[in-house]
Symmetry: C2
Subunit: 238 residues, 2 copies
């Protein structure tokens, strides 16, 4: 069955966690809103009042009769199909839990440039953004990445992955978060990332996977930019 | 097997979504941190470097060999066991998707009083909170509750529940969110809630369930307060 991904066509954003999973697995999919006329089709579908399972916002995925929104729910659905989730219940649940924690970190990264509200431009909330970004750099990045380092160190079967000994969508998500943080906060990350050696090694391992490397080098990988979730504004990088 | 819930003992917070599910199902559980010495036990367990699946933060749940954190992952795990999730995959996934959207709304409600950072007091971010709360009241509450109203209206088997025709943990979560918003933003909610008649009818239906009513009347239900996620500060209610 064809997998259709619906997400904003000009940013990585939350959709990138899904794109990375599909690409790493070599899955066939259509990135609908990037096709000609696709964004209009996405908006029309979202507005259809007859949908039994409407999305609150992109990304959402359609496969046959399944329509599922929320990044982490999409990954929960795709994980086993793409062989990117452990076979056992406890492992699957923990992979999902990690994915939710990555989503929390991502939402907080977004709020560094939008601390007051999504309906306002960055320029309209810049003083607040300066304060929030400082807290994020000093307190939150170390707390989150320190947690993922701890999880890898405690992995009973080895410290090369977050869960088990094979690649999961949580590993891909951690790669994406490190890339996003490096783009948005290069100085803050450079000053700190030696404190999380396992996390950085996993980032390097994921980047070197042939399918991921091919994707990153392709024009399917949208560049980070200041419309996305991870944004580089020099004044927000301490 | 005994279900142990670990969460901060003096607030409803995110743990309340789990407490409500356990209570509505009449499940036996221990609210560990509310027992004598329980909060110290919770903190000690969280700090145990040998845990293969450590939580990033409370709430977390332990049942036999399962340890699971993140409110929505806990509900995903408990839903089928407590008969609070549909039997079919699409229904289960949609229930989870709605639960994630309720968690997003809850996080945004939190950020109305903490727009700059969790390490600071409300008093240290009051001007920013006034701006963020205004956006939240005017834009975000209507967007979220309007979405849940739409979901109920589009439910193919009737508009009395979010998913299917039986109670799910998503219904319980929507009840909790309405209660929290009414506590935190009574004026804003009173001015608007007639726009979401199905949502309010579901709130009333949940409140009247015998097990839920008994729980709400008991001392197990912690009162809303200004240490929790939903906080009432009169100046933030427009």
């Amino acid at each position: 069955m064809t997998i259709e991904l619906y997400y904003w066509p000009s940013i990585q954003g939350r959709g990138e966690f899904v794109r990375l999973a599909l690409e790493a697995a070599g899955a066939a999919y259509v990135d609908v809103a990037r096709e000609p006329g696709g964004q209009a089709r996405m908006l029309k579908l979202m507005g259809d009042k007859g949908l039994p399972h409407p999305p609150f916002a992109p990304p959402f995925l359609v496969e046959g009769k399944i329509m599922v929104a929320q990044t982490t729910a999409i990954l929960l659905y795709l994980g086993p199909k793409l062989d990117l989730a452990p076979a056992d219940e406890a492992g699957r649940l923990f992979t999902h839990q990690l994915s939710l924690t990555l989503a929390d970190l991502t939402a907080e990264a977004h709020d560094t440039h939008h601390p007051i509200g999504v309906s306002l431009y960055y320029a309209d909330q810049r003083p607040e953004a300066l304060r929030r970004a400082s807290e994020f750099r000093e307190q939150r990045i170390p707390k989150f990445l320190g947690y993922f380092e701890r999880v890898m160190a405690a992995n009973p079967v080895g410290d090369t992955h977050l869960v088990g000994r094979a690649l999961t969508y949580a590993d891909l998500g951690l790669f994406q978060v490190v890339e996003g943080l490096r783009y948005a906060f290069p100085k803050a990350m450079q000053a700190r990332e030696r404190g999380w050696p396992r996390v950085i090694a996993l980032r390097d391992q994921v980047a070197a996977l042939p399918k991921v490397a091919a994707y990153l080098a392709s024009d399917r990988r949208i560049a980070f930019n200041t419309d996305g979730i991870f944004r580089h504004y020099a004044e927000l990088d301490g």
